[in-house]
């Protein structure tokens, strides 16, 4: 890839590549055709691949997922678009009881190579149900894999790898990054389920994924000015978790802060804290601290920037773990 592009464009290009690579790939969802999706991620795909492969479905998420299951049984590789995070729930039963369990139920005879794209998270000033972080529900569900891209290059490669994966993948797209800074696309993909150290640092490990990664890198810059070097890890995959990368970092820093937008309780941060504490008990100088969304409903957009994990809260957590 030569010219830098936005995440929205990178996803669009990635989907195009995935459709070119395998004629069994079909894109389906609400308004993915002529409109190209409300975020234009599927822009132009129906024009180029036709209505049989880029399908404007009736308005029903259970139907979108349930018919994707049927298409998978027939040998297709459906890529479902959920228009906004909060609207995945009508399709939740088909995802949890069918997509996640079908391969196991069939003793491995039937595969569910389904990718479910979910524009996720807040920060775009939207109305209710349009800013939810739903990844934990799926991470707690055996049979599903859950990944989140955080930059255009990953978006481009990860969507292709997700579509090519023979397991069902919940693909979290941080919608607030769709049109954020453009970036070059790497020549080679990084394994879909590998975490990545996006900034090395010796004092505190800060782990996150998705829409908050730019903020975490910003925090590392600011913190460096005070002489505290944060090692920032982009999980990329929420399930499975690439613990070796996280543990290697924590063993060196001895301190860990986990950040995510989803509400704190019973969230991803808890799982990472539990695993790290178990695996690196003696290396930890301080408890794992979490900087997350609060245990409330997502607020009206006028308050979302106070509510969302932000620089101040991350730096405060860093100070706290340093004080131990």
């Amino acid at each position: 890839m030569t010219s830098p592009m936005t995440m929205a464009k990178a996803l669009n290009e990635g989907l195009r590549k995935a459709m070119e690579a395998d004629s069994k790939v079909v894109v389906m969802g609400e308004d993915v055709g002529k409109l190209g999706g409300v975020f234009r991620i599927t822009d132009g795909l129906q024009k180029d691949f036709g209505e049989d492969r880029v399908i404007d479905t009736p308005l029903a998420e259970a139907g979108i997922i349930g018919t994707a299951v049927g298409l998978a049984i027939r040998g297709y590789r459906p890529v479902c678009e959920i228009q906004f995070d909060g609207f995945v729930f009508p399709g939740f039963d088909q995802i949890v009881n069918q997509v996640a369990k079908f391969h196991n139920r069939s003793a491995g005879l039937v595969r569910m190579p389904i990718t479910i794209r979910i524009p996720s998270g807040g920060g775009i000033g939207a109305v209710e149900h349009h800013s939810e972080s739903v990844e934990t529900y799926f991470a707690h569900t055996a049979g599903l894999k859950v990944v989140a891209c955080a930059n255009p290059s990953d978006a481009y490669w990860m969507i292709q790898e997700a579509v090519a994966d023979d397991d069902p993948v919940i693909f979290i797209e941080p919608k607030r990054l769709y049109h954020a800074a453009k970036a070059e696309i790497a020549e080679e993909p990084t394994s879909l389920y590998a975490a990545r150290v996006v900034r090395p640092g010796e004092h505190v490990t800060v782990v996150g994924y998705g829409g908050i990664m730019p903020m975490l890198l910003e925090a590392a810059k600011v913190s460096a000015e005070d002489g505290i070097e944060l090692e920032v890890v982009d999980l990329r995959s929420v399930s499975p978790l690439d613990m070796p990368v996280v543990l290697d970092s924590v063993q060196r820093t001895g301190r860990l802060v986990v950040a995510h937008e989803a509400p704190q309780s019973f969230g991803v941060g808890a799982e990472i804290a539990a695993r790290v504490t178990e695996a690196a008990f003696y290396s930890l100088e301080a408890p794992v601290l979490r900087v997350t969304g609060y245990d409330t409903c997502y607020p009206p957009s006028r308050l979302e920037h106070e509510w969302l994990p932000n620089l101040d809260r991350v730096l405060d957590a860093v100070d706290k773990v340093m004080e131990y």
């Binding site: 308004d31 009736p58 209710e128 809260r313």
Partner: protein, 370 residues
Amino acid sequence: MSEHVHAVHPEPDMVQLLTPEGQRVEHPDYPLDISDDEIAGLYRDLFLVRRIDTEAIALQRQGELGLWASLLGQEATQIGAGRAVKSHDMVFPTYREHGLAWCRGVDPLALLGLFRGTNLGGFDPGEHNFNMYTIVIGAQTLHAAGYAMGLVRDGVVGTGDPDRDTAVLAFFGDGASSQGDVNESFVWAGAGNLPVVFVCQNNQWAISEPVERQSRVPLYQRASGFGFPGIRIDGNDVLACLAVTRKALDDARNALGPTLIEAFTYRMNPHTTNDDPRRYQLGSELDTWKLKDPIERVRAYLTRQAQTPAEFFDEVEQEAKKLAEHIRTGCRALPDPTPESVFDNVYVTMPDEVRAQREEFAEFVEAMSS
């Protein structure tokens, strides 16, 4: 790929009481005994809610609102139905029923908070017997069915006492007709003979998807298979909507069960202020529908048939100006929510862990603002 052209067209069986040209026509099943003054009152409603809509769109353009879902073109369906319900009936809207809200006495300003991002609702559903706007497509139809179950249990259905008997009015869109929730609400309403009137505002589009993506037969026909009547009306005819909804609500109150009304209309504006219909909509289709404008025909009737004096229209125009001013100034004056309020009302009784987060949060807001 060519633009989509709608196959489905108004059918002979579509109830119409006022033609696009403003001619009153009679329908055997739906005689409407209405005075010219009352029709003038409907004109006022239609005119004012369109102005509300216009102002809201302007406010969105000026950055005062994050989003707005316009009702342009659908005023007649909402005013007709809104004037058919009684104050003690309960109404369940989607997010586009600003005309219904108007009829329920909800101050237009109370609708803006949701779109401005200062709150998630903005009015008291109980005070107006008007439910909160529902954004999850179709969800409210089940709430309507459940509320109707409550009415039956409260003994306020089929008593014969018009002040007592109560019905539920539930709105949803053509796209929503595909949702499981909506069809399940038909199951409950039919099998339970519930006092609920469903109005499907078929504005021909679910964002970019034409109604044919949802169904190859007219949507009013959906009802019969669930055991209750369905009927299509000219959704741009306020009189047809008034008469047919009134009749359906009477049936519901009299324990004769549910009705599905398909209001055949058209979404004259983008889906929301975020939408770009040029990608999927034929401009020419807008032109044809402009000729069926829900307000023009009433104005035509009033001027030509009812000899309504010019002053009346001036008065309404003046009233609209005031209303617009009220909205413009009021919107900017809408109070921002206090940060801590995020934690209020998540629960009736706030758990300690949430209270602790609230305090931590308050400190940060402190720090950030200082």
